[in-house]
């Protein structure tokens, strides 16, 4: 039976469209959706997957048909037909992709706006007065950890691997740094000074500090410091991200969101978790040999569970904090702080006194002569 080529072409086109649409909806490539932004991004991906599948099948179909249908017969030394162009066809395959990418650009723009990408606050935080930020950061957070960053990072890693007690052990040195960071971020012009952007009372602010090779999350509301990120579902979280040593990136695949943590340049990420569960927090920017081990988890829980967790942390960290203060050198007078060390050296006050007076005598002699 001889079927006209226009009919086979049409049938192939319909089949290709159906397969593309089916693949676009059923590829099953994405992890679960756990934030408000995830379905929007997946929708965009599904659309691109549909178009991409169609295009790939079209190209492969043309190649395969050409290879089988237009193969040179043995002994045929002649050339093919001298077709060297077709202006309408070329206009067609220039304009259709142009329209498609334009549509994709508009769609992406729309999704980007919906997930809060064009929020002016982000702009002001990420780019508002970087020099001012750096002047503060260099003293507080960067200069200190850089020389010892690797050793400190490994300690934290060990603590992380050993137990869940990271909040009590590993987090405290980082937490102190982070508190200073946090207070600085909060005085950055821009945060809280954008009345029209979003209702500031609704969003839940958390500080995230990346260092080799852990994340330290600080809750300014309650003062809780944790190595895992606990968030209440259904509430917009504003994550103020900073880095202490090198560039890191905060990524939660289930939220479909990622933001680099750049030393000296605070960035921020907004998301609204909407599915209770535990999801990995992954560092997505190469940060050193243990980059692959720099992971923790985000625990999205109901507001009640979250409040209970915060209370628990407050109680747990109360003792820890006092202990920390007890050894905090900045809180003591120099005498008080040095006393135990002097003891350990076996130096007695009398001896010092004696030495002092002898030295004084000697100096008198010198000045007299």
């Amino acid at each position: 039976m001889n079927i006209p080529s226009s009919i086979t072409t049409m049938l192939a086109g319909i089949l290709l469209t159906l397969i593309s649409i089916w693949v676009g909806q059923n590829h099953g490539l994405m992890p679960v959706q756990a934030s408000e932004a995830a379905p929007l991004i997946d929708g965009l991906f599904n659309t691109m997957m549909t178009i991409g599948t169609g295009l790939f099948l079209l190209v492969m179909g043309v190649i395969l048909v050409a290879v089988f249908k237009f193969r040179r017969q043995p002994g045929d030394e002649t050339d093919g037909s001298p077709v060297h162009g077709n202006i309408p066809l070329e206009i067609l395959w220039t304009s259709i992709p142009a329209v498609i990418v334009l549509g994709l650009a508009i769609y992406s723009f729309e999704v980007y706006t919906q997930i809060g990408g064009l929020n002016p606050m982000e702009h002001s935080v990420a780019h508002g007065q970087p020099t001012h930020q750096m002047a503060h950061m260099s003293g507080a957070a960067i200069a200190a950890p850089l020389p010892s960053s690797e050793a400190e990072g490994r300690q934290t890693l060990v603590a992380d691997a050993a137990s869940d007690g990271i909040q009590a052990e590993g987090a405290i040195p980082g937490g102190v740094i982070q508190k200073e960071d946090g207070s600085e971020t909060s005085i950055t012009p821009g945060v809280g000074s954008m009345p029209g952007a979003k209702d500031p009372s609704k969003e839940f602010v958390i500080q995230a500090n990346g260092l080799q090779y852990a994340w330290i999350f600080t809750y300014p509301d309650s003062g809780v410091v944790a190595g895992e990120l606990h968030v209440p579902v259904g509430r917009e979280v504003l994550l103020n991200i900073s880095a202490s040593d090198v560039i890191h990136a905060f990524w939660v695949p289930e939220f479909r969101l990622k933001q680099d943590a750049v030393p000296g340049q605070p960035t921020e990420l907004r998301f609204t978790p909407n599915r209770i569960g535990e999801y990995p927090v992954i560092c997505a920017e190469l940060c050193g040999p243990y980059h692959g081990a720099m992971r923790t988890k985000v625990i999205a829980e109901s507001p009640a569970d979250f409040a209970a967790w915060v209370e628990e942390q407050k109680v747990a960290s109360a003792d820890g904090l006092e202990q920390a203060l007890a050894v905090n050198p900045a809180a003591k007078a120099p005498d008080e702080f040095l006393a135990p060390y002097v003891d350990r050296l076996g130096i007695q006050p009398e001896m010092l006194h004696q030495l002092h007076s002898e030295a004084e005598k000697a100096s008198h002699h010198v000045s007299a002569s």
Partner: protein
Amino acid sequence: MTQAQLQETANLPAHGSEPSGNHWRTYFSFSTDHKVIGIQYLVTTFIFYLIGGALATAVRTELATPEVDFVSREVYNSLFTVHATVMIFLWIVPATTGGFGNYLVPLLIGARDMAFPRLNALAFWMIPPAGILLLSSFFVGAPGAGWTSYPPLSLVTDQAGEAIWILSVLLLGTSSILAAINFIVTIFKMRIAGMGFNQMPLFCWAMLATSTLALLATPVLAGALILLAFDLLVGTAFFNPAGGGNPIVYQHMFWFYSHPAVYIMILPVFGMISEILPVHARKPIFGYKAIAYSSLAICFLGLIVWAHHMFTSGTPPWLRMFFMITTMVIAVPTGIKVFSWLATIWGGKIRLNSAMLFALGFLSMFVIGGISGVMVAAVPFDIHVHDTYFIVAHIHYVLFGGSVFGLYAGFYHWFPKMTGRMLNETWGQVHFWLNLVGFNLAFLPMHKLGLEGMNRRIAEYEPRFAFLNLICSIGAYILAVSTIPFIVNVIWSWMYGPKAGDNPWKGLTLEWMTSSPPPVENFDADPVLATGPYDYGFGDRATPVNVMFSDSRDPALAAGPNSALRADPDPAVAVSPDDRV
């Protein structure tokens, strides 16, 4: 008389009288013959390809299991850093531009050599020392900050290795700039009489676009690396936040070169494909001008898309939007090329030999890389997949599925011209199928890994990714093994292969109009263009062929009889009464 015979007859006076019998020592000397330099480039870079491939195999061996059990984490980071640097700066860039560019451009335009032969040799001889320097960094702790070498990480890990990396890439960049100047002058000044820009073979157009990119972008990389070297060695703080520097500025400068670098690696391959397809499909290239000018469009657009590598770096939203749109627009000129190639093979008389298989393999694999490229251009999606295995899959579909498949097509196509002998066809096909299967096993599953949550540049990963990673590693081993038939085939054929003759593929471009291998200075007299470079089938043909969709007035192509897309008005419904019958 076929077109090929016509062109050959017209060029009999130009035909090289005797094939050059280069002594093997010539290839180790400071020769200024562009063909010797081209082969020097190809052999040297292929050796570096094997080294880079060995590093990749080591990376995949480590990743075959979720634990860190093959090399230490520090060594792992050095492995992928040096792998990427070798593959980009010592294999694809010098093999496509230096290797095939040097060998082919003078022959294709009928010139006797490049415009600056000594500069040409100098550009080549910078490559082996720079490559050995880079590899020697393994003795002092190889660089481990990724080939992107972002500060501040690159300032605090393996400083000696990092300094060596900077020096090596600076040398390779210099070599690339020198080669680019040479190509531009050669193409502008040394074409034979009668060959205008629009009669140039498309590979020359591609090399013109590539060289322009290399010339404009490479100095910016050099600037970034020199500043990075100051930060690293002298203690300045251009990019070091500890001293008030800005690490994001480095990223801008780095990607201002390194995105165009992708086009430096793929445009010459586009050019090679445009040469190979018409010869083996026995059909003119479809839409010569569209392909030629789309190279220039890609060259221009390629310079204004760099920040799409930085969508998560804390770039302002308007900047993300601008770079998203420019990046997506590149799909249009690239699509023009792909569709034109498809139309070129449509209705031809395809010789499905190794060169053609690799060219068609290039087309299929590059399309996947192009589609995922448009996907990652979309900011919201890129925010999810940035720095994941999805990106690893994407770059390998572009650079391996694209550039390396194209390079292999070039090797199979021009080997008879370079050596005067034919490659073995059976082993060529074995090579192709092993390559295709291994490549897809190694890189297709990475798309899913990345989307599911596997980030790149890690030595250890979650056990739930173990199965797909094992498949990737098996694919990588097949890929490694697939080079063996190629190497054996090349060495054996170079020594004992059957003689190729001057024009084994019956091509029309000028390199086939002289002896194989061509003599020193290529032609005895200036060659002439009796036919255009792609005028297959224009002469008398024994049997007219009926090819569907080859008539531009076909309503199926022109969207109906009164469509604006029609070239000619339809006599029945034409707007102007003069056109009606």
